[in-house]
């Protein structure tokens, strides 16, 4: 009997998975950018971001953008990046047939 890999419950939620994936590709993003990329509402996005920040998966900082109001900018922490990589690896093993190539996904994740 083969052991099924456990999926990180924090990342195993569609919006949070997408937040992690987007930040893994882009490096960092403001709240407004995440909202646009995920087509999420303010409240929903804020709740998910708070959970990821509390778990130490995301880092946030205030940045004064030129001529605009200060914005909170989010990025994956080292812990969050590793958790996301582990999550993708675990998810690949659960896929039927030939697993999706992990290497390209790992390579696609922006280095910190």
């Amino acid at each position: 009997m083969s052991m099924l890999p456990a999926l990180d419950p924090l990342l195993h939620q569609p919006v949070r998975t997408q937040i992690a994936a987007y930040l893994a590709g882009r490096g960092e993003a403001s709240f407004a950018e995440l909202k646009r990329a995920l087509a999420a509402t303010d409240g929903n996005l804020d709740a998910h971001l708070s959970k990821l920040v509390e778990a130490g998966y995301l880092e946030s900082r205030k940045e004064a953008l030129t001529g605009g109001r200060p914005q909170t900018v989010f990025s994956l922490s080292a812990k969050g990046r590793q958790a996301f990589l582990d999550y993708v690896a675990a998810l690949s093993k659960l896929l039927p047939g030939k697993p999706l190539a992990e290497a390209p996904l790992h390579a696609a994740i922006a280095p910190q």
Binding site: P14, A21, E28, L38, L65, S92
Partner: protein, 331 residues
């Protein structure tokens, strides 16, 4: 959501994160207008009449291009930061790097234009600018929408094909102007309407983009040929093939001088016809029954590709091999 759908969603968001560079509307308009304007007007502002000395002309071109392109780079950078800030967006690392690569391409084009005054190759200057623009669009496209990437490739091919096909200098100039002035805004307009997941639609958009860019150039070239054609009252001079035509070469050299009045007798291979105004050629001509051209189109070009010194009967001789070509026709 199944595991497969979740993995596909991850891949889509990773790609969205990577392709986060935005080609701002103001950037496309600014670069389109300035690039197109420079291609169209530079030869009118800086030419052998306004700057007779080639070195002065080269420096004037350098200052002219550096001022316009440098100024536009600064303005574009400033406006892009402002637009991002207004949308509460950060400047992605990729966009900052791609912008630097774009500046390098502009600097390369400016220096190549300057260098061509001293080292030749000026006939391909507009093809070079078209290819450099294509490279810039392609690099932006790598981190933006796939359609932009394809349009970048199409632009590179357009410049290279135009050069290989021997487009007349003037046609190549208008093609570069059109690629900037029409191509850049059109690329932004099409990219905003393209579906990233439909390659067939993307290919159709590229064909539409090429049509929009090329059609005005060839329409204007056809119009220019019609305009150059003489009217019924125009006096023309027909020079039959076989006629010997003296070629007077005005040579600037610290080594050799041509005696006043010395000419090389050249034999015309094809029938030619010139239009005359007040008894002198006015710059319009044709070969055989072909279409009419103006000398301003830059269809004629002289290329010297080999210089050899020989000693014959104890006397030194300089032998040159050159091509006096009609652009678009093989020598």
């Amino acid at each position: 959501m199944s595991h497969l759908e979740r993995m596909q969603s991850i891949q889509a968001m990773l790609a969205a994160g990577h392709r986060c560079v935005e080609l701002e509307r103001h950037s496309l308009l600014l670069w389109g207008l300035v690039g197109g304007g420079l291609c169209a007007c530079t030869d009118l502002v800086i030419n052998s009449d306004t700057f007779p000395d080639p070195t002065q002309r080269a420096v004037a071109i350098l200052v002219w291009l550096a001022a316009w392109l440098g100024g536009m780079s600064w303005l574009d950078h400033h406006l892009t930061h402002k637009a991002r800030a207004n949308r509460a967006e950060t400047m992605p690392f990729a966009q900052a790097q791609v912008t630097r690569a774009w500046w390098m391409l502009l600097a390369l084009g400016t220096l190549a234009t300057f260098a061509m005054f001293f080292h030749g190759g000026g006939i391909m200057i507009y093809a070079l600018w078209t290819v450099l623009l294509g490279l810039g669009i392609f690099v932006f496209g790598l981190f933006s929408r796939p359609l932009i990437e394809w349009i970048g490739l199409a632009t590179i091919l357009l410049g290279a094909t135009g050069l290989a096909a021997g487009l007349a200098f003037d046609t190549a100039r208008w093609l570069a102007a059109s690629t900037f002035a029409i191509g850049l805004p059109a690329a932004g307009w099409l990219a905003a309407r393209s579906d990233e997941h439909r390659p067939v639609q993307r290919a159709l958009y590229v064909v539409a983009w090429l049509t929009v860019v090329i059609a005005p150039v060839f329409a204007s070239a056809r119009y220019a040929a019609t305009a150059a054609a003489p009217g019924p009252d125009t006096v023309t001079l027909k020079v039959p093939a076989g006629r010997v035509v003296p070629l007077y070469l005005d040579l600037d050299s610290p080594l050799l001088a041509i005696s006043a009045g010395d000419a090389m007798p050249m034999r015309l291979i094809r029938d030619a016809e010139l239009t005359l105004t007040n008894g002198q050629p006015d710059g319009r001509y044709r070969f055989g029954d072909g279409s009419w051209h103006s000398t301003k189109e830059g269809v004629l070009a002289l290329r010297i590709d080999r210089i050899r010194v020989e000693v014959t009967a104890g006397k030194p001789e300089v032998r040159m091999h050159s091509n006096f070509v009609v652009q678009g026709e093989r020598p």
